[in-house]
Symmetry: C2
Subunit: 243 residues, 2 copies
Amino acid sequence: MIKAIIAYDGSNYAGWQKQTNALGIQEVFERALQKIHGEFCEVVASGRTDAKVHARGQVIHFQERPDIHPTQYKRALNGLLPLDIRVQSCVLVDHDFHARFSATGKRYDYICTLNKDDPFSFRYKTVLMQPVDLEKMKKGALLLKGTHDFTSYSSCKIDPRKPRTKTIHSIEIQEKDGDIRFSFVGTGFLRYQVRMMVGTLLALGQSKIEVEDVQKILDRKDKHACRFNAPPQGLYLMEVYYG
Amino acid sequence: MIKAIIAYDGSNYAGWQKQTNALGIQEVFERALQKIHGEFCEVVASGRTDAKVHARGQVIHFQERPDIHPTQYKRALNGLLPLDIRVQSCVLVDHDFHARFSATGKRYDYICTLNKDDPFSFRYKTVLMQPVDLEKMKKGALLLKGTHDFTSYSSCKIDPRKPRTKTIHSIEIQEKDGDIRFSFVGTGFLRYQVRMMVGTLLALGQSKIEVEDVQKILDRKDKHACRFNAPPQGLYLMEVYYG
């Protein structure tokens, strides 16, 4: 099996997943791989990313061809892929490696900026119209850290077969040169979870809600409990952990 | 007269100038201003920028309306303009100020990168497929510094009324984290001049030509003499100088 780390600018895509009426990154990748293999080969990612969401360290796997050396894949794929999807590395791994099922954790970053006058931000950062209280946001983040049922901070359909309890190992919030970067490391995240947590922490930082509301929302375990959802362009899948 | 400094991401535009069958930044700006003024008002820039070229410090002027305070323009314009065009500042200046004719100099930067695997570069940096010899490029740059007839490093139509002699005060070339930044300060630049100078210096840095070829091309004073033209997405109009 080939395990590849890929990075992409999600601006022009409808997310990772193949879709019938919009272009997903998966489809673009599978087309490039098909040119190399001469036949279709499914590509499986560690998880979906939504439309306009970026990745610096998405992990995928696909079945290698015996006549192609693993080290040839990176150059061949980058020669065929558009410039906003780049393979960072390709390695041969055990046949039972699975990009999604073998993953033990993920890191997502979310970038906001207080610089309203930068025309280069809009695809890559969420522009904040009001200043935020960093210390308040850090207090709110402490409540989200740990193992919780994150139903409230998600908006997926409730699927009783899928666990809604996840563990967040760490949440860091740092400000540098007017940019605010949130960094979440955890066992896994529900759909929209990072964006809804960021949206809630920003609402807290802008005094639209209080610290205890972060806990109240969490406790409700209701997918309608949270009305904050930060926009997709600030979100980056940074790393997927295995083993 | 209002003098405004504006920045833009040129990726989605056919350049500054209004065009019949493509969208120029000027047109977008004049539409926004028309909404504020209630009538059309021409906007004049320090000079054109070509399709996909960016600006961090383009200067424009337009006739103010007596009922609008100069400080109100920035907020009003940024509220109406798309996010890839941002007003940095607006000040009231003398009525004889002219963004183009009053300009005494300009600074252009050009950014290349050796990082082929970054999916976020392609709109903002020119990706180099081979390493470059910085010291060689600096030697070549010394030949371009000073006052010269730059006909060879331009591809405009020859207009005998327009002087083709320009003075370049400084050319800096710096490498940082795999990015190479060229910085040109001069009295003014002919069309494509910066991109053709960068293209030539990169060819020199990649040993496609020799240092003396930079001089030979310059000496020919022939618009067909230079066959190198760096792509537009690496170019930034950084600053326009007055007085």
